[in-house]
Symmetry: C2
Subunit: 363 residues, 2 copies
Amino acid sequence: MSSNGTTVPEAYPMNGGDGAYSYTKNSNCQRAAANVSKSLLDDAIAEKLDVEDFSCNPSNAFRIADLGCSVGPNTFFSVQNILEAVKHKYQSQRISSQMPEFQVFFSDHVANDFNTLFASLPPERQYFAAGVPGSFHGQLFPKSSLHFVHSSYAAHWLSKVPEQVVDKNSPAWNKGKIYYTTSPDEVVDAYAAQFGKDMAAFLEARAKELVVGGMMVIIMQAIPNGTPPSRIPNGIMFDFLGSTLMEIAKEGLISEGEVDSFNIPTYNTTPKEMMEVIERNGCFSIARIESTSPWLKAGHMINGPGLTMQLRAGMEGVFKAHFGTEITDQMFDRVYEKSGELIQKIESSCKEGTQLFLALKRK
Amino acid sequence: MSSNGTTVPEAYPMNGGDGAYSYTKNSNCQRAAANVSKSLLDDAIAEKLDVEDFSCNPSNAFRIADLGCSVGPNTFFSVQNILEAVKHKYQSQRISSQMPEFQVFFSDHVANDFNTLFASLPPERQYFAAGVPGSFHGQLFPKSSLHFVHSSYAAHWLSKVPEQVVDKNSPAWNKGKIYYTTSPDEVVDAYAAQFGKDMAAFLEARAKELVVGGMMVIIMQAIPNGTPPSRIPNGIMFDFLGSTLMEIAKEGLISEGEVDSFNIPTYNTTPKEMMEVIERNGCFSIARIESTSPWLKAGHMINGPGLTMQLRAGMEGVFKAHFGTEITDQMFDRVYEKSGELIQKIESSCKEGTQLFLALKRK
């Protein structure tokens, strides 16, 4: 709960189960993004991870955490990628005749559907699996207990909606909108400040959990330095959802106040902002930072209905918590019908650098 | 699946959720049993656990696993007991000014309701929590990665029904019965052999996972050396369920073959049997072995309807998997009605030594 009494919860799980709107069946955009990052990840491990650092570990276990894992299957692909790259590294460094055992921690909010996640664990996996419930804005693991942290499409979620943007008396009040896409600077600044605080907490927790020499790869939604949020697909889509809600409000099905008090708690960071917060933390060196463009790669696959389904699987939870099932269904149904219009807006947007790949090493 | 094609699954989770028949609301017998064991556990840790053994651990984390944790709340009480006893031990040994961080792994079958478990984790807990899905008859954790293993009311579950007891052509065929309470020696021997194999696998896995000096406490259903299974409450109850099913079969609602092909996959070991399998394994020393009598302690609390509810919460899953919901409901409803008769049978049974407390140390 945000402290101002709105009903936006702090946890926004992806849709569970494996039904038509489930994240399991509607996360191939996120999957495409992970594929873009696969070779970057492989390179980072091959070039920057030094497994000799871990050779004094008595249990000889290599521990990996995926933060914001959702219910799969993307998390299983990512983990498999990491595992193979790390094994390759052990082989190439030949530090011992014995390959370590791997333990993988799948972590997400308590409200995540861990039952579905556990039921779909790959039977042929070469690791010991565990689930860890909780917010990655706090410490989730004992000190110096992890060797590799991975987080894909999760670190752009804020711990809560910035309080000012739903405060009528604040200059940052985001009236009639649900995102900062086309909002005054005060709103954008409030979002940026919340992100700065959250990412600082995220890095502080990871600095504790990772062993010296350990690596962290973060893949997240982003925006190129100096680009306005109204130019990127993300900003355009959320604005489109907001207008649709205002349309529903104008018809009297909900009040405008209900729209005013709702904001999507994600943020698109710039590479510059991320580098600053990493520097302030001081515990990590940047092994690699790369702006990538999954929208360009996925371009030929994008169609209106498919995009709406993806958006729904990822974002439905946060809308339902505020507006209830009926209005949320209606909003997505309307967006589905108008998806040609949405696609057109996105066509002319900036699709470069909307994703950030970061490989950090614990100093 | 047992290999003979019957439909008894290998995992039998306690009832999930928190409804009327949930394990959450109907596990106070198990809780009473845990209370009986609390002081034994406290003593074992105080006298036999040497935390200096772990001081070379670079991450300074103390890792606890509860195997067969179900959905709570009992697992949280057990874990809290262990945690306090271990902390006390660290304080008394003063091996370092710094208390370790604790990581607790709650483990049970994949079909266990981990979502409910995670949602009910104590908010004020002083440990990092994780869930581990899988069978404890195999390795669940990396080598030498645990310091304390706890397993309460789980280790008497077999990995499967012994094949011979559902094989019409075997002398161990358990016709017309669902447990070995009043069966020929061949049936009892088949159960004992399966338990021997399963417990050997259990100990082999734990021997890998526990660090040298690590401790394991097992609390399980048992039977005194030389006592026939028809004399203990457990044997009497399961026989009662079996007769009720045969009554239903005689009325033609199910076939007798359906009863013949179903057997409850639990076993009551004797202290002697357990000591033999531990000796054969060779990796553990016995710090404490104690037969306890939770039925005597709980005696004044036992009434027919309450007992039926407890029985239902713990055992319903395995019946439903074979007989379906309707027949299972009918069976428990009939037992509920006849619970006065059941209580009378139990009154005159042997209630001493029906539980075994074991504290083992990894050599």
